[in-house]
Symmetry: C2
Subunit: 491 residues, 2 copies
């Protein structure tokens, strides 16, 4: 990919200025069209060798278009800010809302490339990270966050001379950081590996554009043209169509299946319940206060049918955990800031730091449950969500987070009894509404969705625990036991 | 205040459990009423001496009410997370949206109390901090964030024995942190100063409730009752009335005044403009890269009449600053997350860390300009905003942030010319709409608002600079010069 960008093209200053007039007008018009009709966000990755023009490009870009709607980020390279969250957290939190443009001077490529060039990771691990990046970028694109990936390049034979010139000039010396010096040393020996990595991550929706950095005017002109082309192509796409209404599901899933196999008659008498719950709560409290947990964290996910006892289960887990280390995130309708970003953003923003616990009361599984059944998203969207969710949870687990997922079920008869009880108890009435009765009528559709979810996302790293919810005591003790086991095993 | 809480009241377990049933029902109903009709947020400050029951209260509270809608925070005491922002930033970012309840185990009282007890600050400084707290809490209350301030207390004569008992028990020893031991030592000598501080910050809208912590059941019962009373009183208030429509302003402000005194005929020829602008941009760029700026930050505020050249001025400042250290925050309609919090929250969340620059394109002055003139808020609201804004900017300056504020004016004739030019230039048409013409008709009302703003908020720490905007070159150079002076003087 580099050879085509080593032709040494030039553009004289006058020619550049002349072309720039028109380019700016087009870019500015496109930026305002996007702001007024915020269909997508644009994320520009500005990478490349020092001296090849990426810093100039970024600083000029914010003069070409309206800088008020462009954010530029250089990310803390040592990842201190993530404080125990997965490394990608740093980038997730920077994703712009639709309508806006963000430039990243360090991206999800920075660390893997440097790690590989400096031989801190092997070829296999590197390829896995590139594959994960491809999946991440596919998701971003599908969630209306388009990428412009620029690599500013100068031939390896010129690099040392150019970087030395930067370092000699005191107005530019600060740009060549220790990390960049390390990169240049390794790059000069192994530029072919970077080339291969760029090829491996040049996907149809997010190809790399290698910019010939020999001449600064040419480089900026080329980068500007790439931006213009991308904006034009994405703006020309029609608006998103509303998802089709799903066909009613009249058949129950074939039996036996994971749900039908549950024994909903299991019960626990009160004396044993009190004894076991207290013991398990004490064990959980103790585990979370242990020293090893200060380098770990816990994410507990609760999903379940209406009136299956999710709220009570969450409450009894919460009781065991010192409130200062616990956050409970109830998931309802997203805020407008959340709606303007990729789906998983609203969960990433709540991930726990080291030593903390986050309980999600409903979660990212909403996409493959309620959103699928109610037709809030297109079939293609919930189908791709399984892989996205698995990748997300893999990242959590790899960062040391313990992930425990619970699905609470309840038999139709017991659910009916609880609905009626809620309607007749004054202070429980707020817990029941027409929506619950409607959901109940869609039981088969929900059962299919739950079984698919279990089949697709019950992974060894983040397994599901099905909870028989007809007896609340039995359910709560089973949740606590599984949670205690998960935490104790991990520590 | 402590004597009344040293009577050693007791409540036996059975009596407590019996009362708790009813208390929980009432609290839960109140919590759900608040969630469904989110008129206010509740912030509970749980302070007190160790062993007096505050930890128990907080952990029990999350079992009494629905823990999914309660957040509990223990704040990093050394303030590392603030990274150069004012100390209060840690608490601002934790404020809940309306409808929710947040418990703070450390609050804006923690540091001043400890600093004073340990004689790290003098009496005068301490009193100033308490006065600032009173102003802050008045603002919170007026912005629908009500406070329940609890102080769990045991007599000084019992304190050492009780804390020693906590420390001996390995299940509670972790609760007594080094900061708390330091606090206990100082408190035993100077509890009367704490008492005076509580009295000084017991305001009508946010009084302290001292809880007798001799008996744990009594303490929890009292704290629960205090919460119940507060919720009931705040829920019984009627909904907020929409602000009255402001009367039209037909008279211009009396002359001469700060606006009429401006010489709008000042111009700058192109050659001098190019030379001066380049020189000033270079000086700003250099100042921001200097080492002392790594412990400082810059907030630049731009306000101005429509078409006065705000956008261009912002763009020319931005050109001078390395994009990786710059954030431009354009202020338009608030998001729903912002609307649910006190007014200034949306600005606190964008404050720069050390070494960074944030430009606010429109700002917190919106409250005393557009919101006043258009009647978006009640007169009482914009009137109190002056003092709130001055306090906010004082905090910024005290934290080492350089604050520069610009108001750009334009003569009616020049404004008209620019409006017409915008309408007739295809790629400027997006910059003008019916709203701009309406604002123009309200010129007198805006002039009054601007003059009041200058009179109330032109402080030595954060002065306003008025910019004559009829000649864009003159305006841009004046902005740059003032900004360079502000930064160079500060470093």
């Amino acid at each position: 990919m580099f050879a085509a960008a080593e032709r040494g093209h030039r553009l004289d200053k006058a020619g550049f200025e002349r072309r720039l007039q028109e380019l700016r007008r087009v870019l500015l018009a496109a930026q305002y069209r996007l702001l007024r009709d915020p269909r997508f966000a644009l994320v520009i990755l500005a990478h490349g060798e020092p001296s090849a023009g990426r810093t100039e490009f970024v600083n000029h870009l914010t003069t070409w278009i309206d800088p008020r709607h462009v954010a530029v980020h250089a990310v803390d390279p040592d990842g201190v800010t993530a404080a125990g969250r997965p490394p990608m957290w740093r980038f997730w939190t920077l994703l712009p809302p639709r309508g806006r443009i963000t430039v990243l001077l360090d991206s999800w490529y920075t660390e893997p490339l440097l790690d590989r060039l400096c031989r801190r990771i092997g070829r296999r691990a590197f390829e896995e990270r590139l594959a994960a990046i491809n999946a991440f970028e596919r998701m971003l694109d599908a969630d209306h966050h388009h990428l412009l990936k620029l690599w500013f390049h100068v031939p390896v034979r010129d690099l040392k001379r150019r970087v030395d010139a930067l370092r000699r000039d005191e107005t530019t010396a600060w740009r060549v950081t220790p990390e960049e010096r390390e990169f240049v040393r390794a790059f000069r020996k192994r530029s072919d590996e970077v080339e291969k990595a760029l090829a491996a991550t040049s996907t149809p929706q997010a190809p790399w554009r290698v910019i010939d950095g020999h001449d600064k005017h040419w480089a900026q002109w080329q980068a500007g043209q790439a931006l213009r082309t991308l904006l034009a192509s994405r703006l020309s796409r029609g608006p998103e169509r509303p998802p089709p209404r799903p066909a009613p599901v009249r058949r129950p899933p074939a039996t036996p299946n994971a749900l039908s196999a549950l024994d909903l008659t299991a019960t626990l008498d009160e004396a044993r319940y009190n004894r076991e719950l207290a013991r398990l709560q004490a064990r959980l409290a103790e585990a979370i206060r242990r020293k090893p947990f200060r380098r770990r964290s816990l994410v507990a996910v609760f999903e379940g049918a209406d009136a299956a006892g999710k709220g009570g289960a969450v409450r009894h887990v919460a009781e065991a955990i010192d409130a200062r280390f616990l956050t409970i995130v109830p998931i309802a309708a997203p805020s407008d800031e959340e709606r303007a970003r990729p789906y998983l953003w609203r969960f990433w923003r709540h991930l726990p730091v080291h030593g903390h616990v986050t309980i999600f009361d409903r979660s990212w599984y909403g996409r493959v449950l309620v959103e699928r059944v109610e037709g809030f998203c297109a079939p293609a969207t919930w189908r791709r969500a399984y892989a996205e969710i698995n990748a997300f949870e893999d990242e959590l687990v790899a960062a040391g987070t313990i992930v425990a997922k619970f699905y609470l079920t309840v038999s139709p008869a017991e659910q009916l009894r609880r609905f009626r009880e809620r309607e007749s108890t004054p202070w429980k009435r707020f817990k029941i509404g027409p929506e619950d009765w409607r959901n109940r009528a869609k039981r088969h559709a929900y059962d299919h969705a739950v079984l698919d979810m279990l089949a697709e996302t019950d992974t060894p790293a983040a397994p599901w625990t099905l909870i028989e919810g007809d007896d609340k005591r039995f359910a709560r003790v089973k949740v606590m036991r599984r949670l205690v086991e998960a935490v104790e095993t991990a520590l």
